[in-house]
Amino acid sequence: MEPAVIAPEPAVIEGRMRRLEHLQDVCRVVSSALDLDQVLQFICGAVRDGLDLDRVVIYSIDHRTQRIIGPRAVAPPLSDSPEGDLECSDGAMSPAWSSRGVVPSSGAPPGDSPQSGARSAATPGITGCSGWSGWSGWSMELRRGASAATDVALGQAPYYLCNEAADPSDLPEVRGPVPGGRCPVPGGPDEPGTGHRAVSRSDEGRSEFTLGALVWAGFQTERPMAVVPLRGRTQIVGLMLVSTAVSGRRLSDQTIEDLRPFAEQAAMAIEQANFFVESQRRVGFLSALLQISTSLNSHSELTELLQGACDKLLEVSGLQIAAIYLAEGGSPATDEGMRGKGDEVRAPASTLPSSPHPLISSSPHPSLRLHTIAGMRPDLPEFYEPFRVGERLAGRAALERLVIVSRNLQQDPSKAASIARRIGLRTVVCAPLLLRGELLGVLTAGTVNDVGLTGEETDVVSSVANQLAAAIANARLLEETRYRMVEYQRRGDELSLLYHISRAVVGTIGLEERLRVIAEGLAEVTGTTRCAIFRVDRLCLLPWVSYGDTPEEKRQFQALDVSSVDAARLLRRLMSARKRGHLSGTTPAGRCPPSGGSRLRPPTKVPLTESVGPGPGAATVQVMREIDEEPFSQVPWLRAWGVRSALWLPLAYQNRLTGLALVYQPGEARIFPAEQVRLAAAVANQAAIAIRASQAYEHERNVAETLQRSFMPTVAARLRNFDLGQTYHPALKEAQVGGDFYDVFWLPNGRVALLMADVSGKGLAAAMQTAMVKYMLRAYAVEDPSPASVLARLNQAVSAFSDPDLFVTAFYGVLCPNSGQLQYGNAGHDSPILALKEHRYCTSLDITGPALGMEPGMTYFSRTIELTPGDLLLLYTDGITNARRGDELFGRERLVALLAELEGLKPARIVSQIYRTVRAFAEGNLSDDCALLALKAKEAWKYPAQP
């Protein structure tokens, strides 16, 4: 307040002093930050008292709702104040006052007829009664030109001053152009003259209008009166009305000037309060948003999440309805998946079978379907119908991808707004849920109230919409992740099962054993107890292996004779069932791994060739359900086994059907779930490969065994006067052929060649040399059977062709089975033991040359001995004599002694006995091949008839 410079008059000075005192009080009260109403009340009182006014009323302006709210505080004329002297209260207001104003109707004094609906007045006008105290809760739309007060409140006029009596024609109904041009820029408080002049001009021009517009009951008759704005920092926050109607003292510009500091203080108080309220409100909003976003980010189900968001939105805003529509791509599956609340329990796995999520499908014109609603539940069936993008308000927002606020819907005749209108909404905000430009849905919120949505509420909606979009995406991601996890878990289980089965399969090598493991695995994956595997040979089914049945059943199975007709029918069925499609549970061909295209070759020899069809069909995994269904009815043994439901699995590898697996549970009409079928098919697929490998292995082993058998003598049968015993035990189990070998073969001259040899080394490398030596020796023996010659030539050959490190010891003899004459040569081999029956002692034969392959050009010699009845010749390899027990060798002496004991036995017994003894000596630990060949001259000789 600027100091007064005018020469003071005592009264004026006194008045000023009083004003200053009051102003000081006001400042103190304002800065004390009491309740706003108390402060304003105090200000009113101070102004009244300080300026000698009769009545002071303060209104506040709510810019959010664009209304003048009031009166916030009233200082009535002292004479009719029911509250007594306010001044003396000094801020400590009476309860009646303090309760008034904030809560509009509670403080209404009895006797009045207060309008309790706070915002019910739709048009400017008087809503209060004529009594001052009953005005609490009154409000007026802040419309330009509506009245002088609104003009002041809008800053159109710096203040309003009227000393004249009211004109009854100053009624609110008076309408007219707003005289905005008269005072376009609100004058500052420092230019009272301008304001006054402006008002004066209005007085001159259209005073009645301006005056008449100031409509509230109490002031219609209050003259003189003035209205000054409570000017805050940025806007006018309230109005202060003063009157001197009781005293009738005219109000002057000076009065206005005097009011200014008080108005400033009041504005400051209101602004402070507003700021506080605004802060509170913002905090509320922010915390609401935070709550929403927190709830959105919680990993709950999408449906719950959306519901929670809607509820929260209604909670924090003044809205009555919130709804979320989700965009749909249009496929039936997605319709199923996203149909309202009824489907909440649907498992994610089933709704997300394919990788693109149904919600993310972006069809060019998706439709919108209501997913979540909160607040009102309109009783309008159309509301719940899905609609296309572009239709209805939400569809428009979805189409334009913009937040659209629609107001005054009740007056909106457009078709888009019809449903909203019928529901009774007045204002609706629609915010599209967009994720990276993709439309996920629309969030719609509306209110039935007249009050429009504030920008903040719109912001909240659109902010929630943004968050929802992210939350939906997250939820989908989560669901998809869950689905994938479930899927991976399932696949992992399958894989580990498959792995175990494969490992079991691989752990075996023989075909039989492997088939048994496969059958067990198939039963395991299908949860059954029985599995039978058939071999498919040219459309014939042959029993292969069975699992889970009793020995008796096993025998029956092995004796099973599937007629070619039955087999052909069965196979034909397996091939053609897919086309017929009436077998229940048929697995689609695309989903069954076993070959997908295993083909039966067109049969050639089976009589049913023609009926199988012209082209090869693909055998598929089949589930047969009912016993009466073909081919069950045709195949009696299935019935006999109690098969009521069976899974047929083709074992096919590279388009060749090698077998059929039948999985069943006796007496049970079992349903095989798709996963089991798929898993069993995978096992069968692997099984086919394993069987193939096993067959290849068996084949190779057969070859090897044949080879080995060919190394072993085949003519042992009849040697006239001699018996032969032989045994062979390789050191390496896996290589059935070792370095030791023997051979007995007929020579062209009617004699028998005996060979016992030991190729250095073991395993297959030695076996190769074995084969070479064996057949070279045969060749040489046929040319010239003399041992000296054979061994010498063999030595040359072995030296020439073999590894330099390799050598062969060989005993080679030519026996005349009639005379018993044995001509032999021994290339470094362990000397055979000869038990001479007649002389009753054991001796050993000579070594007549070095081992073969040591050096070429060596000389070998022949010896000739006569075997007489009862003589026993034992050929052996060093595996026998070198058998170890610790450091102790079995040795030759033990062998000789043993042979002397066993002399009376048959040669076959002798060799097996020797081998057993030696193995026992070595405690089962024989490190070298053991070969034994015993030749015994019979006791009774037959001599050929002399010609």
Partner: protein
């Protein structure tokens, strides 16, 4: 089954002929002697001893022959040998007995004495020859040329045991000689080895085992084509070979003759006494 080793056949022209078959060793030497005696008694001069079928003769057989000759001479008869092999002729002359016999012209293996080495028939040199043999000096004269063996690369080996039964001595002899025979050596070499092995084996069986059949005579023989080594072991306590005197020229006695012959025919004869008696015979097969 013993096949009679000597048969007596009376000649039409007078006189008698004794056929000797097979091996003559300590077991059947007596048979030969008795056959000659009976021939001398029953038939007149000359007594012909046909040795064509003789396959082996050892010191006992030689002794038997010498005794028979003495008996014949005492009765004024002549003992004529027919079919005398080089080996036997060599043995007889080496032992100084050649003068007791008249050797027929129709010799199957008709080398003359001179071919065996000049001066060998001189009895006075017997001891020297034996001494030289014992002293491990290879006697070039005794080495039998075997040109084939020299060029060959040969390795043969035999290792066996024989129970200490006298009838099995021939088995040892046979086994060793088979080894040598397979290399097709000169007949003299073969005979020499057979004689030496036969002497060693019979010593081992007779003296080492002393008739105990449970005892074993172990034999090892090996050859690389140049040298033959034979080891014959018996479990007996043995003896000092140096104490066995070298026989006088023309002296006929049991014992000692065998060792003498071994030393005579082999290049190297050694004894060792470790857990029994082992005689090791070494014969060079090539020059």
């Amino acid at each position: 089954m013993e096949i009679p080793c000597a048969t007596v056949e009376l000649s039409r022209e007078g006189g008698s002929r004794v056929h000797v078959h097979g091996d003559i060793d300590f077991r059947n030497a007596k048979v030969v002697r008795e056959a000659v005696h009976s021939a001398a008694r029953e038939a007149g001069d000359p007594i012909v001893l046909d040795l064509r079928s003789l396959t082996f003769i050892d010191s006992s057989g030689i002794s038997a022959l010498v005794r028979a000759a003495r008996v014949a001479r005492e009765q004024g008869q002549t003992l004529r040998l027919e079919g005398v092999s080089q080996h036997v002729r060599y043995l007889l002359s080496a032992a100084g007995f050649a003068r007791f016999f008249q050797m027929g012209d129709g010799l199957a293996c008709g080398l003359r004495i001179a071919d065996w080495g000049s001066g060998r028939e001189e009895g006075g040199r017997l001891g020297e020859a034996a001494a030289a043999s014992t002293a491990c000096t290879p006697d070039p004269q005794s080495a039998i040329r075997n040109p084939q063996a020299a060029s060959r690369r040969v390795w043969q080996h035999a290792c066996f045991a024989i129970p200490g039964r006298i009838e099995l001595v021939s088995h040892i002899r046979k086994r060793v000689s088979e080894m040598l025979e397979s290399m097709a050596p000169d007949e003299q070499l073969l005979e020499a080895v057979r004689l030496a092995v036969g002497e060693a084996a019979s010593n081992a069986v007779r003296h080492g085992c002393r008739g105990d059949e449970r005892l074993l005579v172990r034999v090892q023989s090996a050859t690389d084509g140049d040298t033959l080594v034979v080891e014959i072991s018996d479990p007996g306590p043995g003896f000092n070979p140096d104490e066995v005197p070298c026989p006088e020229v023309g002296e006929l006695r049991e014992g000692g003759m065998g060792i003498y012959f071994m030393r005579l025919t082999m290049d190297h004869v050694t004894y060792s006494f470790e857990g029994g008696t082992t005689v090791r015979l070494v014969k060079r097969l090539t020059e």
